[in-house]
């Protein structure tokens, strides 16, 4: 059966849609709000901001996280910054420009109306965060500082050293804590949502597992908001932490949109061994000052790989600053997908610089010299020595990126002030996610998705510093309004009964799934399956993809899934604190999700943003889109695994921007 996807975009001119819609929306009166229960799953930027704001509005909120505290959500790890169209730098920024950059950066695969709204509310986010006490970086005059991120030519990124995500999340966490103390939000830590419960087609609750005791619980509400983050962990090695909940909603009929759009971040610390569990990001902000290069000659690259030479032995003339060469207009600040692919091309040509052959340099020597000279001038030092310049310049670079440099040194044991960093692309963000309409409501009535968990704003590629913006836009400024569109129809609905047959069925399904996993009692660890899944996904559905590879990957993932249920070993039982079992349920989901990602990648016979199909590229090796046939959102419906998932389409309509070939040259 075909599902009709109605994006519910309000009518009117782009710039007025949100304002007009907001002032004509249905409202829920304060006395009714007090009666209405809302479940929010997730306490990252999206979940914490949503739960606290809904609590402030007077709804009865129940908020869940599988972490031991709301403050541990992975948003905490975001480093570089958050965009907002404040135009504080007077450099020509505007809501329209942020909108346009985001649409273009997303390779024309996102919805105009949602993106415009995002750009519009971006300004309120900064105001809100400052009012909460978020200590953003400031200039000497006391006003807020900005920097640039990839894919744009203005400075609109606000930041708090290299810990912007931490500071924004702490801000949201504080607001959430206040609502908890006021009794408006009931917080459930260490509770993992394992299933969604629908009653008469509407989302009415969730089934959770108390991770401390293993107890399975039913939680009912008038609606459910998922803010459970992205699914990058399907790849095992990524900059993400382990989580998955969206897929659990997909099993109950929500659609997964564009799952093949995964972002590969160009600047991560390269893999160093098989035991590796996690890849560490080196913030994109480093590309403001770092220059990316590889040796121009293969023999130099080989010598570096073998430890016979270092970066410092390669003279300027024998270096290839390939981003500056290939993309003179944006240079080192091209968008992530472009920078990642260029690194892969360089390494494929035998120019990689780590023992694995998979790394390029990110060099700060030029920045240190430049800053050193300007510091010397401003502090009145005449004819400074080279050492003095280096000393002064190093201090400037340290003030800007000190914590990142320190992190790099701890992990690699090398000093990046002295020798260039080695970096390589890694999975970082998932643009795909639950399909939502303009209200951020999924195709399941009463089920909303926010933040990285939805697909809505970034198209096929997300610009740096835009995820924090989107998570907070969704939570603080969008859902508090749009949720009323659904809930205004529910004011006569009494509290939802968790003893209904629908809840019992879902609880049983969860118990069965858990028992199935603990009773396999095979010989291989969950981790080993996860690692194998990740390798398949990275090799065939990673930075570049082709039809043959994808087809064989599909077969491999299916076989792996079968093997999983025959040979996985989960120690302990389902009725106790059991981290291995937690992992096992997530990896089980990742296998199904991985399969859907591959199907999506196979279906999309074009290259766009993070989805690069080798068959579809220009002569210069750039992504070749097919707007004629693929300017749509592919939303996948869960179905029996024999037949495979079913695709539904939402055609994207562009009324305000002209679809162009993305060029950063």
């Amino acid at each position: 059966m075909s599902i009709k996807l109605n994006s519910n975009i309000p009518s009117g001119p782009l710039a007025d849609k949100w304002t007009q819609y907001r002032s004509t929306m249905n409202l829920v009166a304060p006395n009714n709000k007090r009666r209405i229960e809302v479940i929010v799953v997730g306490t990252g930027l999206a979940g914490a901001s949503a739960a606290s704001t809904l609590g402030e509005l007077g709804y009865n909120v129940k908020c869940f996280t599988f972490h031991d505290s709301p403050r541990r959500a992975h948003s905490i790890a975001a480093q570089g910054g958050i965009n907002a169209a404040k135009n504080y730098q007077n450099d020509g920024d505007s809501v329209y420009r942020l909108f346009y950059d985001t649409i273009k950066g997303g390779d024309y695969r996102s919805r105009e109306s949602n993106v415009y709204r995002l750009a519009e509310v971006s300004r309120n986010i900064i105001d809100q965060a400052v009012a909460q006490g978020v200590p953003f970086a400031r200039e000497y005059g006391g006003l807020l500082a900005n920097r640039s991120f990839g894919g744009v030519q203005v400075s609109r990124t606000f930041y708090a050293r290299g810990q912007t995500g931490q500071q924004l999340l702490i801000g949201a966490y504080q607001s959430l804590s206040r609502q908890i103390s006021l009794g408006n939000v009931q917080m459930y830590n260490r509770h993992e949502m394992l299933d969604l419960v629908k009653v008469d087609g509407k989302a009415r609750g969730i089934i959770t597992r108390n991770l401390l005791t293993g107890e399975i619980e039913r939680h009912a509400a008038h609606c459910v908001v998922l803010a459970t983050g992205g699914y990058g962990n399907v790849y095992y090695l990524s900059t993400n932490a382990m989580q998955s909940a969206a897929w659990r909603a997909v099993r109950r009929g929500a659609l997964m949109a564009n799952p093949c759009y995964c972002q590969i971040h160009p600047t991560c610390i390269p893999v160093s061994g098989d035991y590796q569990s996690k890849l560490t990001l080196m913030s994109e902000s480093l590309r403001n000052d770092g220059r990316v290069w590889v040796p121009a000659k293969q023999e130099d690259a080989k010598a570096i790989r073998e430890g016979k030479k270092t970066a410092l032995d390669i003279p300027e003339g024998d270096r290839d600053y390939y981003l500056e060469r290939r993309y003179p207009a944006f240079g080192n600040l091209v968008p992530r997908d472009v920078a990642s692919r260029a690194a892969k091309v360089a390494c494929d040509e035998g120019l990689g610089v780590a023992p694995t052959g998979l790394a390029v340099f990110l060099d700060f020597a030029a920045a240190i010299e430049r800053y050193g000279k300007s510091e010397a001038i401003s502090s009145g030092i005449k004819n400074p020595s080279k050492e003095k310049i280096t000393e002064l310049g190093t201090a400037v670079v340290e003030a800007k990126y000190g914590n990142l440099f320190e992190m790099y040194e701890k992990i690699t044991g090398e000093n990046p002030y002295k020798t260039p960093m080695k970096i390589y692309p890694a999975i970082h963000y998932t643009m795909g996610g639950l399909w939502v309409d303009y209200n951020l409501e999924t195709n399941v009535p009463g089920l909303f998705a926010l933040g990285e968990a939805n697909f809505s704003d970034h198209g096929a590629n997300r610009l740096g510093a835009s995820a924090l913006m989107q998570g907070l836009a969704d939570g603080y400024f969008v859902i508090p309004y749009t949720i009323g569109q659904f809930l205004s129809g529910e004011i006569r609905t009494p509290n939802i009964d968790p003893n209904s047959p629908e809840f019992a069925e879902a609880e049983n399904a969860v118990k069965e799934r858990l028992n199935k996993l603990v009773s396999v009692k095979g010989d291989q660890s969950v981790e080993s399956f996860h690692r194998r899944l990740g390798k398949i996904m990275w090799d065939y559905c990673g930075m570049s993809r082709n039809a043959d590879g994808l087809k064989s990957a599909l077969k491999m993932v299916r076989e792996l899934r079968e093997e999983y249920y025959k040979d996985v070993f989960v120690p302990g039982t389902a009725d106790e604190f059991n981290p291995e079992l937690e992992k096992a349920t997530r990896v089980a989901d990742f296998m199904e999700l991985g399969e859907t990602m591959i199907m999506d990648a196979l279906n999309r016979n074009e290259s766009c943003g993070g989805h690069f199909r080798e068959e579809y590229q220009t002569e210069g090796g750039e992504a070749k889109r097919d707007d004629e046939n693929y300017a749509y959102v592919a939303a996948w419906e869960y179905n029996s695994w024999e037949e495979g998932p079913i695709m539904h389409k939402e055609e994207l309509v562009f009324e305000n921007v002209e679809l162009k070939t993305r060029s950063y040259k």
Binding site: S49, S52, T53, E56, H67, D68, S69, R71, R72, H74, I76, A77, Y88, N124, D127, Q128, V130, A131, Q132, G133, P135, F136, A137, R138, Y140, G142, L143, A160, Q163, G165, Q166, Q167, Q174, S175, S177, R178, M187, N189, A241, S272, Y275, Q276, S277, K278, T280, L281, K410, I411, G413, Y476, F477, S525, E527, S528, F569, P571, G572, E576, P579, E580
Partner: protein
Amino acid sequence: MKLTLKIWREGGEFGSGKFETHQLDNVTEHMSFLEMLDVLNEDLVQQKKTPVAFEHDCREGICGTCSMVIDGHPHGPQAKTTTCQLHMRKFKDGDTITIEPFRASAFPVIKDLVVDRSSFDRIIQAGGFVSINTGQAQDANAIPIEKDTASAAFDAATCIGCGACVAACPNASAMLFTSAKVSHLAMLPQGQVEAKKRAQNMVAQMDKEGFGMCSNIGLCEAECPKGISVENIARMNAEYLSGAFSS
């Protein structure tokens, strides 16, 4: 390298707790400490034994989840480093490493190395916020804040809520954690309005949770992976006292 691990096991088959010894032969210097534990757990799972329960999430030194005491130091011997950022190159072949949970009565052990730190959340809930609702904010640049002040507030705000300060303190005091939040907000004009009341309420909650008194030993700062300064404690005491006099 070859290592001997003495690890605290508690709960389930281990009852009220004891040390268990394991040998690991295949540790490389590039591994992080948690990856070394992953390898141990992978071995244990292979032998159908219960893996060691330990908490971790970001593995980037920022979420504050990875709590354990390594050779007597919360987060191990390297200064200003969380367990997940500690790498095995800091150890030598043949070393014996002792690993225990954070110990404090306000952090009850759940299992092995996992403790319950929800008392920290409750301290924040007692007042660690600015009372402002979404949508009430004025323009972000309306109040200029001196760069150095913003930077000092940031230094306090950088606390990751891991609890190492409590684990390091012989009195199991939570003064460093609490004062970091009090100072972060008190230094900014937005947080100044409620500063006194905040200090009163958070300190009262801290006492209620059963954290000990501060006797100015300073181990909290020494062991803090983010280098949060004990100056924050002085700042909190000032807010607390002026609040106590005016109330």
